[in-house]
């Protein structure tokens, strides 16, 4: 086979492969996923938690990450400063929470620069 034909065939294969790969990723946002949270995702707790702690599947960059907590009326809860106790962990302290439903919104940047975001709910039932 001529060298030129080989190169053209190679280029065609590269383009096809790139289209397959890039096309397949459109619905996926990023790389650091929430591994687990405290309070647990969707849980109901009797006593209001003192903090929200999130652990991710990859190390995250705290300067480019945030955690927000909102109450049942979508009002922001005044959380403390974002802490980074471990490379994969982020934490914010909470004020004493009255009974009710809360939503945690998180947006993080993994150390390999990919961004993810998500949210989950928990409920404080009270004693």
């Amino acid at each position: 086979m001529e060298t030129r034909a080989i190169i053209l065939k190679g280029l065609r294969l590269i383009l096809t492969s790139l289209v397959i790969g890039v096309g397949g990723v459109r619905s996926v946002s990023a790389h650091a996923f929430l591994d687990h949270a405290e309070p647990r995702v969707g849980s109901t707790v009797e006593v209001a938690p003192p903090a929200v702690t999130l652990e991710f599947t990859e190390a995250v960059e705290p300067d480019f990450s945030r955690i927000e907590v909102r109450d049942a009326h979508d009002q922001p809860v005044a959380v403390g400063a974002l802490e980074h106790p471990h490379p994969e962990e982020l934490q914010v302290s909470l004020p004493p929470l009255p009974s009710g439903d809360y939503t945690v919104h998180w947006a993080v940047t993994s150390v390999d620069t990919h961004q993810t975001e998500g949210r989950f709910e928990f409920t404080v039932s009270g004693p």
């Binding site: 080989i6 190169i7 190679g10 492969s17 790969g21 890039v22 990723v25 790389h31 960059e61």
Partner: protein, 273 residues
């Protein structure tokens, strides 16, 4: 953003491989011809430009997530894991381009410089061992590509001694590349379900198919073309080897581009399945 990141990643890996491969080939194969030097210089220039673009794109992506602006924002950016390694990569590239030392020390420096790239990507986000194994994989791939490129750029007949040197280096590279690649594949895609059910897994399958083709062509060169060149040392044998190497290079570039694509795709996780 993903197609842009993929394009930047492809250009990064390709120019890094051609540049570092050329530097390593100068120490392990033969001193470069003026043509080889030009190719390596072009690769360095493309990589320098790509690194600048990477920083600008990173800044654009991060600006919405930051509470700072101006100089403080850029300092914050360069103080991240990725930012510190970006500085090391830029400094290393400048050093490799300007340093006037022998081919051996320069190749050793290039090999060490590749570490920064391994720590910057997926593997680096998963810890030191995955990053080190990724580095072995990258170093072996770059060495193999550099050796092939050196052969492909030979204008006339290929000397049997050079062909034998490339054959030895390619064999050592494959011996390091395959186990490191298998480790990486199992680390990132631990189950068959995730292999078939995620974009990362599907691109990995395409990459492995091309890699298998690449190793097959390499085996043909190892067992057929190079021994024939050593036995006969005529222009026909040299031309056949040269053609096979050019074809091998095209496949190697495809494998590199697919590897770069894997670098921007999310690894399959149970949250995605």
């Amino acid at each position: 953003m993903t197609p842009l990141l993929a394009a930047i990643g492809c250009l990064d890996l390709l120019s890094t491989a051609v540049f570092a491969g050329g530097v390593i080939a100068a120490a392990l194969i033969t001193l470069p011809s003026p043509r080889d030097r030009r190719v390596v210089q072009w690769a360095a220039a493309v990589l320098a430009l790509d690194l600048v673009v990477q920083l600008v794109v990173f800044a654009a992506r991060m600006s919405a997530q930051s509470s700072t602006s101006g100089g403080a924002f850029w300092l914050e950016l360069l103080d991240t894991h990725w930012g510190r390694l970006w500085v090391i990569r830029c400094f290393g590239l400048a050093l490799l381009v300007t340093l006037r030392v022998g081919a051996g020390p320069r190749a050793a420096l290039a090999a060490l410089w590749l570490l920064a790239r391994s720590f910057q990507g997926h593997a680096g986000a998963h810890g030191t061992l995955p990053a080190l194994i990724d580095w072995v994989h990258l170093l072996a791939a770059v060495t193999w590509l550099g050796a092939l490129l050196r052969l492909a750029l030979i204008g006339g007949a290929i000397a049997p001694a050079i062909a034998l040197r490339v054959r030895r280096l390619a064999t050592v590279s494959v011996a390091a590349l395959v186990p490191a690649g298998i480790y990486g594949a199992f680390l990132h895609v631990p189950s068959l379900e995730r292999l078939a059910g995620s974009p990362y897994g599907r691109v990995l399958v395409v990459k492995l198919t091309f890699a298998a083709a690449l190793i097959s062509i390499g085996a043909m060169n190892h067992f057929r073309h190079v021994p024939r060149l050593v036995r006969r040392n005529d222009s026909g044998a040299s031309r056949r080897l040269w053609r096979a190497v050019r074809f091998e290079l095209v496949i190697a570039v495809v494998v590199l581009l697919l590897s770069a694509l894997l670098g921007v795709l999310p690894m399959p996780h149970e949250a995605m399945m």
